[in-house]
């Protein structure tokens, strides 16, 4: 079948082992939400929730006292706040990329990981959205950034990249949320149907939106899913491009760089895949999902990380080249200072984690080794945080006039908020695992041999024939 062509082209015939059936998929995925939470889950949840509570406290303290409770200063007016923001936004990229772009390109292996990745996107974007909110000096006036008609007749400044950010990120969040939710509807219906308690029936019944699995439902669902995927696809590229404009449109050496949009997008995909990998490896082991998330999936993801990591490495090199080639002494200084100045350790951590560590994946043995890929994915998560730290702090701390140079050091509040955002992410993620099917059951079933419920070209054929077939024909 032509549908399987991309997979066949990369030498695969089956995405899932032979013994996997529709029932085993439903059982293994639904079971997680239906049984009592294992003790390990509780430990993790309490730890994550404690960190998230710390985030709440730290934010309350920040609001009471002011931005001065952070280490930010003049000249480093942005530091961990925006570093964390960009880091989380980057992590939030893989979800949509996996769900939407791979969907549009008919990469069927995505079905095993897309739910995960989408959930991760939502939670990462939630974490990211905290930062632009709390990093302003007067949080209670943050709504000035929104184009709300007001008696003063003042609109936001549409020239400001920060405003573009507001639109880009909120659009991205809304579309991702919709996309995720739409994909969840059939699976919610499965859970509803399996529910034994009244409460579960009610709750899942509401969120399943009356899904009965009828042909019309499937048709509408497929259309909606495709449309949302098509809307999401450009967003994957636009969001991080717009985030990069925060820096690229400024006049600061080290920020004022035309390579930023593609470089940021590559970096975002890179970090997103790394985070998906980290989480996937944990859940796969904990919940025994080896049959659904196979080594083939992992290997494909590692290949993408190798590609994007190398792209990012190229961007790092290109920045240095341009700093030299442009002949701009300020630019030149900033880059030399990045590698050799007071924050050299951050720069070299970034290079080690982001450029060197994914190169291990050239080796088939290493890219199919679970421990190696886990360690590398953690490295990439760290490295990508450092990348944003390097871009923001090392560019700012020594800019044009040496008289204003300074250093940045974080405070306990900085650390609590960063750790707290990770806590919040895991809190949400752990809740997700417990209450929402973490694998897109309906879609995985779709890639089982013999189950091809939706094929665009089938529909087209039927439309050409002027004939509406109620059920898609088996693929083989």
């Amino acid at each position: 079948m032509s549908d399987d062509a991309p997979i066949a082209a990369i030498g695969e015939t089956r995405l899932l082992p032979e013994h996997v059936s529709s029932k085993s998929i439903t059982d293994s995925v639904s079971r997680v939400t239906e049984t009592r939470a294992p003790r390990g889950w509780w430990y993790l949840f309490l730890a994550a929730a404690a960190l998230a509570g710390g985030l709440g406290l730290a934010i309350a303290y920040l609001v009471m006292m002011g931005i001065g409770t952070w280490g930010n200063n003049s000249p480093v007016a942005w530091a961990w706040d925006i570093t964390n923001f960009v880091w989380w936004i980057g992590i939030g990229h893989a979800g949509t990329l996996i769900s939407a772009v791979l969907f549009v390109f008919r990469q069927k292996w995505r079905t095993s990981i897309n739910r995960f990745a989408e959930a991760m996107t939502i939670f990462a974007v939630i974490c990211a959205l905290i930062f632009p909110g709390i990093h302003v000096g007067r949080i209670w006036h943050a709504y000035y950034m929104l184009p709300i008609p007001n008696q003063m007749g003042i609109w936001p400044n549409f020239k400001s990249p920060l405003l573009w950010d507001v639109f880009a990120v909120s659009t991205y969040f809304l579309v991702s949320l919709l996309f995720w939710f739409v994909g969840l509807v059939p699976d919610f219906a499965t859970l509803r149907d399996r529910s034994t308690s009244r409460v579960r029936q009610m709750v899942y019944g509401v969120v399943a939106l009356g899904w009965r699995g009828s042909n019309r439902h499937w048709r509408n669902y497929e259309r909606a899913y495709l449309i949302l995927a098509s809307i999401s696809t450009p967003l994957v590229f636009s969001v991080h491009s717009v985030v990069s404009f925060d820096f690229a449109t400024s006049v600061m050496p080290g920020w004022h760089t035309t390579i930023f949009p593609p470089y940021f997008v590559a970096g975002a995909v890179f970090s997103g895949f790394a985070m998906v990998m980290t989480l996937l490896l944990i859940s796969r082991t904990v919940f025994g999902l080896h049959d659904i998330v196979t080594m083939k999936h992992l290997e494909l993801m590692n290949k993408i990380m190798l590609l994007t990591g190398t792209l990012v490495g190229y961007a790092y090199g290109m920045e240095f080249f341009i700093a030299w080639y442009s002949g701009n002494p300020y630019e030149r200084y900033v880059f030399i200072n990045r590698a050799t100045g007071p924050y050299w350790w951050a720069y070299w951590s970034m290079i080690t984690c982001n450029v060197i560590s994914p190169q291990l994946f050239w080796s088939k043995r290493l890219r199919t080794s679970i421990p190696v890929m886990f360690v590398v994915s953690i490295f990439i998560n760290i490295g990508m945080w450092f990348e944003r730290f390097v871009i923001i702090v090392t560019s700012l701390h020594r800019d044009f006039l040496p008289s204003s140079w300074g250093n940045f050091s974080p405070t306990i509040v900085d650390i609590m908020i960063y750790a707290g955002s990770i806590g919040l992410f895991f809190t949400l993620f752990l809740l997700f695992i417990r209450w929402i099917p973490m694998i897109a059951m309906a879609e995985v079933k779709g890639v089982l041999p013999g189950a091809q419920p939706h094929h665009a070209h089938h529909d087209e054929e039927h439309e050409h024939a002027g004939h509406h077939a109620p059920v898609a024909a088996p693929a083989e």
Binding site: G137, S403, N407
Partner: protein
């Protein structure tokens, strides 16, 4: 290779300058990086205005935060403002229109000299001081001390009433009781044999008259004068040279060659504002054809005078006399010390002067070993230049002994400078001794038990008297001691009576300058906490019936002002701020006491034991911020960075890199400095490039107790090291490491320009060759602007800063702070890089010699870019362009994203990281300028070109139906600047000064290649190098 044409900064053509990195980075890059990463060197946790305590989470705070966290979840931003009622005047005071400021002329004493002021008052509250252009010692400028004086007035820790000793404690009492006690005391004094009065050297005619009256009533009483920083030695030197007391004032405007021998005449010495104006007037260049004076500075520490010098010599203070003697010998060889024949007839006659004895005394004098030969030869040659006869001046620092002053006086006379660059006026106070004579005599009397009643007028002698006198212990020997003081300082805690002293802006007074100008000091506000003046207390003691200062001052004025129309003269004097009708008493015949001079010159020899790291010279200098400690509780002054070291909220032991290396100490090390008398003081080290080797500069006035909430024990008290022998400076000091570290906060941590064209300078020769050198140092911008360029039809405001006239004195910083209600933030916040200066003074070290670099100062405020990068990044339109091209801040709109701060290439934007204004006491709030909003936490702020002044002047012009005139609007920094380096005005008015200055050849913009099109222009600094001194 890159095909693109490299974008290199053009270097000055002749002197290939080595540009500086931070000294520590150079010495030990690894250790520096470790420290840089840590930011806070290990050591004490600092605290300041916003203290660290408020930032640490305590249990109660934690509960509060936890509660708030809960509340935040539910509701956000429901802030109720407290309900407060205000009441209108029922009877409107005359002239007082709410919102309209009134200006009064007055005079205050600053660094020992009067400084004429115009004071702005709002509804009866003085809020800002400015120089009085009519007063000769101001000429429109001020100094930082005076600008900050306004904050001292509203100091919440000022003494709020009299107090008397009961047992160990001082108990508050009333003025009535204090007056009764004073009257009772006066009745028991008899002839006053056991009455002693200690006062600061006074230049107030009314006080001196009151003092005379007191001595008339108590003929056996004695009045001693003492001030920890005083110009007594200069007057003693003049007396030595002339045989009679005379006041000396220097006219720098006429001087072509200035030799400043250990004299910080542009900084901390008396009369600096006027000296600055005149000195820089003589080097104001509008084209390469203009003449320029030349300054040689010889000094141990690094002062702003040294920074302004064309040539600077590092020399221990003790060797200054020997150096001057060598110059005298060289001058003698050049024939300058020739006898002067009698000249003129009648009153204008000058008698013949024979320098024979002096020639003999200086014959063969050798310069100290560390002085390069050309420093004697070339300086003497420059001075002896026949074209410069009568157009040079040798000025000696007040801490130098009288003999050096006397020799300098003689040389000035020989160079024909008397009556030309040096004016003599009859002295008001003819009681002349060295700086420590008064206090030494008093200590002697006290220890002899000869003092029953001691009246101390102001000051803090228990702390600041020479340590070997042990004044604190001796004070107990006086039966009754009375201390008149603005603060209940350490001396107040040891006396039997404390009486609050009125601030200069609260009281009547008068001051006569050393140039013979006479001005009346009038009160701007009734004393906030009661309070008496020195004159009042003395008159009360003398039993005067009319002892109120108003009567005293008017009575004195009636005697001093000639003619009949006293009332009119009095009014004029008050109105103008200076009594023009006053003529100082004639000086009489001036004849040099040549034999005494020769004897004095013989005593000037190089120090006997050579200086080394085991025999260090310590010199004590007035602090550029606290002076002698009198501004010790003034947050502006505590925070004000030292102009050379940029250290804020502390003083330090300044030392040269070579000596530090020899001693094995580095920055932040706490060292013990031991005096030859055995006293020791622990103080933090700061390596100051350009400091003299084997010498330490210690700034006075820091680290005292009982100062107040801001300044208590801030910094290091160095008075214990100071004895009568080492009052100005002394050798034989040693240093030991303590192993402790101490954090210093600095407003600027990088000392180098990194080879960038920022504070541009050139030599006079280079300037003549290529007058527009400055503009070519930066590449010309070739990119197009992002947005359509605005054509400014109305006003186009601009500021021009002449770096060639900037002495680095900091007055503009304090003036800006006072005008714009800029908060002080405390030591920890400064260390974190959160100082709020709208206008900052950048200081860079330049030059080839690392041990003796030159300094480039550059005041940087908002450049008011026409293509402002801050504006298009603000998401909420809180910073926008005005139709006049100003980059305005709408504080109400600002949400504090700080994006503008990031995108400002000049880093002039200041963010309220914490609530910097919330903790300001009620009293201090009275000082706020009502025309400038107080900014809340979380809001960005920056220099506005004093937009409130622009608006005020525009309104006034509109009301009078006239056009704005050039000079109507003067920014606060411009007004404070004593040298006239800053000019504000309208570029669209082709006749305005600013339009003319911005077209000068030396003009350049800061970072033009960024494309910001700044409105502020700089004029490059020119150094008038002596070709013979090079190489």
């Amino acid at each position: 290779m890159s095909k693109r044409k490299p974008y290199e900064f053009a270097k000055p053509e002749k002197s290939g300058k080595v540009f500086w990195t931070s000294l520590e980075a150079k010495a030990d890059p690894e250790a520096f990086q470790a420290r840089a990463a840590a930011e806070f060197p290990e050591g004490v946790v600092p605290d300041g205005l916003v203290n660290s305590e408020s930032l640490t989470l305590k249990r109660r705070t934690f509960m509060g935060v936890a509660g708030a966290a809960g509340a935040l979840l539910g509701l956000e931003g429901c802030v109720r403002r407290p309900k407060e009622n205000i009441l209108p005047f029922t009877r409107q005071p005359e002239y007082v229109v709410p919102g309209v400021a009134l200006h009064y002329a007055t005079v205050v004493r600053s660094a020992g000299e009067p400084l004429g002021l115009l004071v702005t008052t709002h509804e009866g509250r003085p809020t800002k001081v400015e120089g009085n252009p009519q007063h000769p010692s101001s000429l429109g400028g001020t100094d930082g001390y005076t600008q900050a004086g306004i904050l001292d007035l509203y100091d919440p820790d000022r003494s709020k009433g009299p107090a008397k000793r009961e047992g160990e404690a001082l108990v508050d009492t009333t003025f009535a009781e204090a007056d009764a006690a004073l009257t009772g005391l006066a009745g028991k004094l008899g002839q006053g044999a056991k009455l002693r009065v200690l006062t600061a050297p006074s230049n107030s005619p009314s006080f001196l008259k009151a003092q005379k009256d007191l001595l008339a009533k108590f003929p056996q009483a004695k009045v001693y004068s003492y001030e920890p920083v005083s110009s007594a030695n200069r007057r003693a030197g003049t007396k030595l040279a002339l045989g009679q007391a005379a006041d000396v004032s220097v006219n720098y405007r006429r001087a072509k060659t200035v030799v400043a021998l250990d004299a910080d005449f542009l900084g901390t010495e008396p009369g600096a504002p006027r000296a600055s104006r005149e000195f820089f007037d003589a080097r104001r260049l509008s084209s390469p054809r203009d003449a320029m004076n030349r300054l040689y500075a010889i000094e141990p520490g690094y002062t702003v005078t040294g920074a302004s010098a064309d040539h600077r010599l590092r020399l221990a203070a003790r060797d200054a006399g020997a150096y001057l003697k060598a110059v005298a010998a060289e001058l003698a060889a050049l024939g300058v010390l020739a006898d002067i024949p009698a000249q003129g007839e009648g009153d204008a006659a000058t008698p013949a002067v024979s320098f024979e004895a002096l020639r003999g005394a200086v014959n063969g004098a050798k310069a100290p070993a560390t002085v390069p030969a050309q420093w004697v030869k070339s300086v003497a040659k420059d001075l002896a230049d026949p074209a410069a006869r009568g157009r040079s001046v040798i000025v000696v620092g007040t801490r130098q002994p009288a003999e050096v002053h006397a020799l300098a006086f003689a040389l000035n006379a020989a160079l024909g400078n008397l009556g030309r660059t040096i004016t003599l006026t009859s002295a008001l106070d003819t009681d002349v001794g060295s700086a420590t004579d008064g206090i030494t005599a008093l200590a002697k009397d006290l220890s002899a038990g000869a003092v029953d009643t001691l009246v101390i007028l102001g000051g803090n002698p228990v702390v600041d008297a020479p340590a070997d006198l042990k004044f604190g212990e001796l004070l107990a020997k006086a039966g009754t001691s009375i201390h008149l003081s603005e603060f209940r300082n350490t001396t107040s805690t040891k006396v039997s009576w404390h009486i609050p002293r009125a601030h200069a802006l609260e009281s009547w007074g008068d001051l006569r300058g050393s140039d013979g100008s006479y001005a009346i000091q009038q009160p701007m506000i009734a004393p906030l906490h009661g309070g008496r003046t020195d004159g009042e207390l003395v008159a009360q003691l003398a039993g005067a019936r009319f002892w109120r200062a108003h009567e005293l001052v008017r009575g004195t004025a009636r005697e001093l002002l000639p003619g009949d129309g006293f009332e009119q003269q009095w009014k004029n004097a008050l109105h103008n701020g200076v009594a023009r009708d006053y003529q100082p008493a004639a000086l009489g015949n001036v004849a040099l006491a040549t034999d005494a001079l020769a004897a004095a010159a013989r005593t000037l020899t190089e120090g006997k034991s050579p200086l080394s790291s085991g025999n260090l010279e310590v010199n004590f200098a007035a602090d550029p911020a606290l002076y002698d400690g009198r501004h010790g509780n003034n947050p502006w002054m505590l925070e004000l960075p030292d102009p050379l070291s940029c250290v804020s909220w502390d003083n330090a032991a300044y030392i040269s890199a070579a000596t530090a290396k020899e001693l094995g100490i580095e920055n932040y090390d706490v060292i013990t400095v031991k005096s030859p008398e055995g006293a020791s003081v622990d103080i933090v080290t700061w390596v100051l490039p350009g400091h003299t080797d084997n010498a330490i500069t210690l700034h006075l006035g820091w680290g005292a107790e009982n100062v107040g909430r801001y300044g208590d024990k801030v910094g290091f008290d160095v008075f214990p090291l100071r004895s009568t022998k080492s009052f100005g400076f002394g050798d034989g000091f040693t240093v030991a490491k303590t192993g402790k570290r101490y954090m210093l906060s600095q407003t600027q941590e990088t000392h180098s320009m990194e080879g960038r064209p920022i504070a541009i300078d050139a030599s006079y020769e280079e300037y003549k060759e290529k007058p527009d050198f400055a503009e070519y140092r930066s590449p010309v911008l070739s990119t197009l602007p992002l947005w359509t360029e605005v054509k400014y039809e109305g006003h186009r405001w601009s500021l021009v800063i002449d770096l060639n006239a900037c002495s680095g004195c900091n007055a503009c910083l304090v003036g800006c702070q006072a005008e714009n209600n800029v908060p002080s933030v405390g030591k920890e916040q400064v260390a974190r890089g959160r100082d709020m200066y709208w206008l900052r003074l950048d200081r860079y070290f330049v030059g080839e010699d690392e041990a003796a670099p030159q300094v480039a100062f550059q005041p940087v405020g908002c450049q008011q870019c026409e293509e402002a990068p801050c504006e298009n990044v603000c998401p909420v339109n809180a910073t926008a362009h005005s139709p006049e091209g100003l980059n305005d801040m709408a504080y109400n709109r600002c949400i504090g994203t700080r994006y503008c701060m990031n995108n400002c290439p000049y880093k002039v934007r200041r963010f309220n990281f914490l609530n910097f204004t919330g903790q300001v006491p009620e009293t201090t709030r009275m000082m706020y300028n009502p025309n400038v909003s107080i900014r809340m936490r979380g809001v960005m702020e920056k220099c506005s070109y004093c937009v409130q002044r622009i608006q005020e002047s525009k309104i006034a012009a509109k009301r009078d139906a006239r056009r704005l005139r050039d000079g109507d609007i003067r920014s606060a920094c411009q007004q404070a600047c004593p040298t006239g380096a800053i000019t504000f005005g309208d570029l669209n008015d082709p006749t305005s000064r600013v339009a003319k200055l911005s077209k000068l050849d030396r003009q350049y913009k800061l970072l033009p290649e960024v494309g910001t099109q700044p409105r502020t222009s700089y004029l490059a600094k020119i150094r008038n190098l002596n070709p013979e001194m090079q190489g």
